[in-house]
């Protein structure tokens, strides 16, 4: 193996910090997702490389680098058990950039590093596309451009000048980028599928419910979805966002079935009253559930079906933000008739668990005249007896419902929904638990409703003969505020006192609402720019029957036009050296001689060289030289230009 020189001479010292900075900036969006050892390795290599350059030491030997590369590769493979996908891919990129630093000796190596950093910046979009991603990427790319310019800059160019040039170059490129974004044909299915990072926890609802799960969700301010209503916005108490339905109880945990299509489910719904039309923009949940206001009848999301318990689901998990329109009727009836076998199934509780609850159910049912009266009396019990709504309930033991009803009496929606359902089922009334969201906050700036993870809720549906399934929210009996004002205020009532906290200040809240309004528009207009939006935008622009061919042609035309306009602008900005008539004439003479005018060569000196060349008569050379100097540097430019013209004309 041929050994390559490894010494450094400090020549990269002026551009290296910029390259390191550009790399670090492009790596930052990946840091939360990368294992910590990669971050440490990157910054270690960066510092090491800088010290090598500063103290003009030797770069590590190629054997050592090869060893490091092998270790890092195994490290990535060990961490992810794979080398494909967004996670391992960006980890490998980061590691390669770190190791490339250790063999960066020349400008060419730095170019490679900057290419990697551009790639890293772009690949951060595979993970998340936040509102701030764009300004951050712009800033990062500007720094990369600056680093690029720093490499070729002479040392009279200051870093500030390079930075400005880099920014200007980006500015020239911006119209092209926008044109491409607008006109490049959007496909319904992307060219390539981005592998979903399965290591990430799902942020939606859990698929099962054992009281205690939702406490962490309640505190998360993350947006679950946003809704814009077409007409009036329903009252908070009517905003039940139906998600999944749990039908089975094993004494401890409520669970549902896999989402499956039910042809009958939709037919079972009978509606009356006014319809509510709205559009939901759902954040990715990586689950199948599609949320809609109770009770949805139509929805526009493709591949979405209604399950047997009137829950909406999409056949593929929601990995990207989706928007859909839906129509719901708050006034509805479901399945007025229920076969005995189903009635039985919906009121099944495991034998031998939660015995005290079962006894209480029998006792209370016997005291009531009807199922309806029984329901009332249970809600009455929750309302009047010492039950508390809290997000920090004590842990429940083996018979959680017994323990909750008779001992702790502290809990949140899940506890009440679970306890209520068990009481109902204990009395033979078919009951199921619905998980979804309740309430939401109207953003006064955007006019839309924000539903956050903290609005997650669990309620019940009971079936009564002749009425069908209808919603009963036992939490409302305990903490009406939770239903009327939202989870946050209700939670803060308990929490705030316990921790001595006050509600977030009004100003902060307003700021966050403003940010949310901008974010919603950003989602609608920028991130939501898909095939449909593009088509309607093209039609709005006047394109008839837009298809990808027409868009492609438009794109090419627009790009060519933009390049021409920008080039023209730059040409006009560039102050060309004044083309003096005399010097134009003199150039003609220079061309005739077949010699080149050297930088800094005077006309006299050039004349001597032409004489020595011997192609033109001495008298002509002298006449032209004298006339040119007189015309260009003498006081009487006009008359001597005529002489110059004649003299040059004579040799032509």
């Amino acid at each position: 193996m041929k050994t390559r020189p490894r010494g450094t001479d400090g020549s990269l010292l002026s551009s290296l910090p910029w390259t390191l900075g550009a790399l670090a900036l492009s790596l930052v969006p990946h840091l939360p997702y990368l294992p910590i050892w990669i971050t440490v390795a990157f910054f270690g290599c960066a510092a090491w490389r800088y010290i090598i350059e500063k103290q003009r030491r030797m770069l590590p030997s190629s054997w050592f680098r090869a060893l490091l590369a092998l270790i890092c590769f195994l490290g990535v493979f060990g961490t992810y058990s794979s080398i494909s996908g967004v996670g391992p891919g960006s980890a490998l990129l980061a590691i390669m950039a770190s190791l490339k630093l250790l063999e960066t000796r020349k400008r060419r190596d730095q170019f490679v590093l900057l290419f990697i950093s551009i790639f890293l910046v772009m690949s951060s979009l595979l993970r998340e596309q936040y509102l701030w991603s764009l300004p951050y990427m712009l800033a990062a790319v500007t720094v990369i451009m600056t680093a690029w310019l720093r490499m070729s800059a002479g040392h009279r160019e200051t870093a500030k000048q390079s930075f400005r040039t880099g920014g200007r170059l980006l500015l020239y490129a911006a119209p092209l980028a926008i044109a491409m974004w607008v006109f490049f044909p959007r496909l319904a299915s992307p060219f390539w599928a981005v592998p979903v990072d399965t290591s990430r926890a799902t942020s939606g609802l859990s698929e099962t419910m054992s009281p205690g799960d939702i406490s962490s969700l309640s505190m998360s301010n993350e947006v679950a979805f946003r809704v814009s209503f077409e007409g009036t916005v329903p009252e908070p108490r009517d905003r039940y966002w139906r998600g999944l339905v749990l039908t089975q109880f094993n004494g401890r945990t409520w669970s549902g079935r896999e989402a499956s299509m039910s042809a009958r489910a939709h037919d079972q719904i009978a509606v009356s009253g006014n319809a509510i039309s709205y559009e939901v923009t759902l954040e990715p949940t990586r689950q199948q559930w599609v949320f809609a206001l109770d009770m949805p009848v139509t929805w526009s999301l493709p591949q979405t079906f209604m399950g047997p318990q009137q829950q909406l689901a999409r056949s593929v998990p929601i990995d990207q933000r989706v928007a859909y329109r839906a129509v719901s009727y708050p006034d509805y009836r479901v399945e007025a008739e229920l076969a005995a076998v189903f009635r039985d199934w919906y009121s099944r509780v495991p034998e031998g668990s939660n015995r005290r609850t079962a006894a209480l159910a029998r006792e209370m049912r016997a005291a009531a005249d009807s199922d309806q009266a029984y329901i009332e009396s249970v809600l009455q019990k929750f309302h009047e007896e010492e039950f508390f709504y809290t997000l920090e309930p004590p842990p429940l033991g083996s018979d959680p419902v017994d323990r909750f009803l008779f001992e702790t009496r502290r809990g949140f929606c899940e506890h009440y929904a679970s306890a209520f359902s068990v009481l109902m089922r204990g009395a033979g009334i078919p009951t199921r638990v619905v998980l979804g969201y309740q309430g939401g906050e109207i953003n006064p700036l955007g006019g839309h409703l924000i539903v956050r993870q903290s609005d997650a809720h669990a309620w019940t549906e009971v079936w009564l003969q002749g009425v069908g399934w209808y919603r009963v929210d036992p939490t409302a009996a305990v903490a009406p505020d939770r239903i009327d004002y939202g989870a946050q205020d209700a939670a803060f009532e308990g929490l705030g006192e316990a921790w001595g906290l006050s509600a977030p200040s009004a100003l902060l809240h307003k700021l966050s609402l403003t940010f949310d309004a901008i974010n919603a528009k950003w989602n609608d207009w920028i991130l939501g720019y898909g095939p449909d939006t593009q088509n309607s935008f093209m039609e709005w622009l006047g394109m008839k029957d837009p298809d990808w061919r027409k868009m492609m042609l438009t794109l090419i035309a627009v790009v060519v036009a933009l390049v021409m306009v920008i080039s023209l602008m730059l040409m006009l900005r560039y102050r060309a050296p004044a083309r003096d008539r005399a010097s134009v004439m003199y150039r003609r003479f220079v061309k005739k001689t077949g010699l080149e005018l050297q930088t800094g060569e005077t006309a006299e000196h050039f004349g001597q060289r032409v004489s020595a060349h011997g192609t033109l008569p001495q008298s002509a050379i002298d006449a032209i030289t004298a006339a040119y100097l007189d015309s260009r540097y003498g006081p009487d430019a006009e008359a001597s230009f005529v002489r110059l013209k004649t003299a040059v004309g004579a040799i032509a």
Binding site: R156, Q598, E601, T602
Partner: protein, 321 residues
């Protein structure tokens, strides 16, 4: 008034001026052999009302050039040999108390001459040096609180021996700036040297030489020099050169605006001496090393061995507009 009229008359007679300059060049060339470029520069320097610094080893004719200039231009000449014990009074003069009149009487020093040769200026103390440099700058001296004007025209031709290092006080950069030009003479070529060895003694030749001009005419010439045309294109060139000296990696300190002014003045004078219709880029290039050589501070670790090489590099890297 008489004198004003003479200047007016002389200015109009360009041919006479041309002849005078030709005569002066010829006379100088007969004494200083094979140094036509330096003679041309020295003449241009004086015509541009500048002071001249000649820097070279001993015995190359520095003093001879200064004496010849005085003689040919018809100027009163004094020589001051700078030594380490030279006092300012030795240059400017002293006030002596006259017993008979009971008054102080000022005895003018050698500085009250039209052309002064300050020989080996770097051997005197900074105090003596600054007495001369102040006179050069102000064209006047202060004695006992009284300001005395120096004669007109007033030139200082200083010589400096770069070989001497011990016991010398090299002029600092700020004072070097007072000299419009710095020229180096260098060894004569073989032919000239043979003539010097075998031919007539230069000193006796100097005595026989006739003045080509007189002080009045010289002032008229100086006046004419300021009217030499400078075109926009030439100003562009000067600016490009100056900018290059400031931005070049080879140069730590570039030309100041005063340096640029000096460049224009010297180029005008050179154009006048060469009888050009205006100041040409060639004139700029001819005077550039003499003007910029002592004003530029090369960057550390430069690859150029002498100021002349550095100046040539600047000229070779700036395109003539």
């Amino acid at each position: 008034m008489q004198r004003g009229n003479t200047i007016e008359a002389l200015r109009t007679n360009r041919d006479e001026q041309r002849l005078a300059i030709e005569r002066a060049r010829k006379a100088l060339g007969s004494i200083i052999l094979g140094k036509d470029d330096q003679i041309s520069l020295a003449l241009a320097c004086l015509l541009a009302r500048g002071h001249l610094l000649i820097e070279d080893l001993p015995g190359l004719g520095k003093t001879m050039l200064a004496q010849a200039l005085a003689r040919v231009l018809g100027l009163s000449f004094r020589r001051i040999q700078f030594t380490s014990d030279l006092l300012p009074a030795d240059i400017i003069g002293v006030s002596i108390f006259r017993q008979d009149s009971g008054e102080f009487e000022f005895q003018p020093g050698p500085v009250f001459s039209q052309l002064i040769l300050a020989d080996e200026v770097n051997r005197a103390t900074p105090k003596a040096q600054s007495a001369l440099l102040e006179a050069m700058e102000e064209h006047q001296v202060s004695v006992d609180g009284e300001t005395l004007k120096l004669p007109d025209p007033f030139f200082v031709v200083a010589t400096q021996n770069p070989g001497d290092q011990i016991g010398t006080f090299p002029l600092p950069e700020s004072q070097l700036d007072r000299f419009l030009m710095r020229v180096e003479l260098g060894y004569p070529n073989e032919e000239s040297e043979r003539e010097l060895i075998a031919g007539e003694d230069r000193r006796s030749m100097l005595r026989d030489i006739e003045a080509a001009t007189n002080p009045e005419m010289l002032m008229a010439l100086q006046e004419s020099v300021t009217t030499v045309h400078v075109s926009d294109a030439l100003v562009d060139y000067i600016q490009a050169l100056v900018r290059h000296t400031r931005e070049s990696a080879e140069i730590e300190i570039g030309l100041s605006p005063r340096g640029a002014q000096a460049l224009v003045a010297a180029a005008r004078a050179r154009a006048f001496v060469e009888n050009h219709s205006g100041a040409y880029p060639d004139d700029i290039q001819a005077v550039f090393a003499a003007i910029a050589g002592h004003r530029l501070k090369p960057a550390g670790g430069t690859r150029f061995r002498s100021p002349a090489e550095l100046c040539q590099h600047v000229l070779d890297s700036v395109a003539i507009p």
